[in-house]
Symmetry: C2
Subunit: 196 residues, 2 copies
DNA sequence: CCGTTAGTGGACATGATGTCCAGTACGCGC
DNA sequence: GCGCGTACTGGACATCATGTCCACTAACGG
């Protein structure tokens, strides 16, 4: 899997990797996943192609790290756990904001010019966040994973819809819209205490 | 786009295309989208590779036809419009049944060994069916397309979850589960007349 | 300041794609 | 049935991206 022979400490290594990641994100936004080759990434990053392969096995392995960063950012941005009833799926606000800000990149991830690996990775990230969030709540009547799939899928597609929409939607409104639709689902699933 | 110079009437053409489609579906189920080349399809179908290109521009164009067939099958399988209130999203039953029957193929379409084109095409198919279905209902408070995205995404992921689950789920139960979760969404969106 | 480690760039093998063409065989209409 | 036309054959070609390898150079860190 990992081909990372170079010792992470070395400055040269850090600069090389940073350049490559940067170039990758730019090219992804500009041309879509299939729109550029490893050679292109190296050209833009000013890195020899053979160097690329001493760090990453392929484009996919390179992109993986960026997703880890994103995941960390989204988890970090959560509001402090206040007292009282926790608002479920609070992370959606950050996700939606981030998505609308970095619209070009997210469109490349989620849109029709994406690549399977990228899309799948993003989907796993979103489903993972939903899963973690719901894990905190009470067990419901419906299988937990079914609810995760239902809610995660809905979130993914609503976000995609918003990103592909013509105008620039408002993050707050969009988040409210999603929560309006998802709340009754959580109640029905018994995950959220609601009108019994 | 279409490279179909051969006249569709000719028997040779029909046999050739049928063989290719058949081989495609088999290979898709066996090896996943990236697991085989145009050459492989031709070998299995007993068709010259150059012949392939006189019919289709690439693997993607070949697979497109199969999806058209699937869409037609799913629309045809709907119950006759009985009097009284129409049950919304009735097509899900057929979709789920079909998916569980043809599990291997569907896993190849929806699973992690799929290809972007295939997944995207299937997603469009499902969202299209949802859109058509909801179009029949009353306009709601929430943007129609948002509801389509929400419901379609949820359906896609629940189906994926079921297909990837270890055991063999029951189609009827699964359909009931989905409808249980989706019903309150339709009510909230104002698409389904419910408890006001 | 020097030894170690990373980066360079070019060569090479591989494998898939898509195009083209001359020859063959098969279906269709007469 | 027969022959005309069209589809299929298969192999050659050009192209392109991948991934590996290696001898050489540069720069980091102790």
């Amino acid at each position: 899997m990992g081909v990372k022979q170079p010792s992470t400490a070395d400055r040269r290594v850090q600069r090389t990797r940073a350049s490559l990641r940067q170039a990758l994100v730019e090219l992804l936004a500009e041309r879509g996943w299939d729109g550029f080759s490893v050679q292109d990434v190296c050209d833009r990053a000013n890195v020899g192609r053979s160097t690329f392969y001493t760090h990453f096995a392929d484009k996919e392995e390179l992109v993986a790290g960026s997703f880890d960063d994103l995941r960390r950012a989204l988890r970090a941005g959560l509001p402090a756990p206040t007292r009282g009833p926790r608002r479920p799926l609070a992370f959606t606000r950050g996700l939606i904001e981030h998505g609308l800000e970095q619209r070009r990149v997210f469109l490349a991830i989620v849109g029709k010019r994406s690549g399977l690996v990228v899309q799948r990775r993003f989907r796993d990230l979103v489903l993972g966040l939903v899963r973690e969030d719901l894990a905190a709540g009470p067990a419901g009547v419906v299988p937990r994973e079914a609810v995760v799939a239902f809610v995660g899928g809905a979130l993914l597609e609503v976000l995609t819809w918003a990103l592909e929409a013509k105008g620039t939607p408002d993050a707050a409104e969009l988040d409210a819209l999603f929560h309006r639709l998802v709340a009754p689902v959580l109640v029905e699933a018994g995950v959220l205490p609601g009108v019994v």
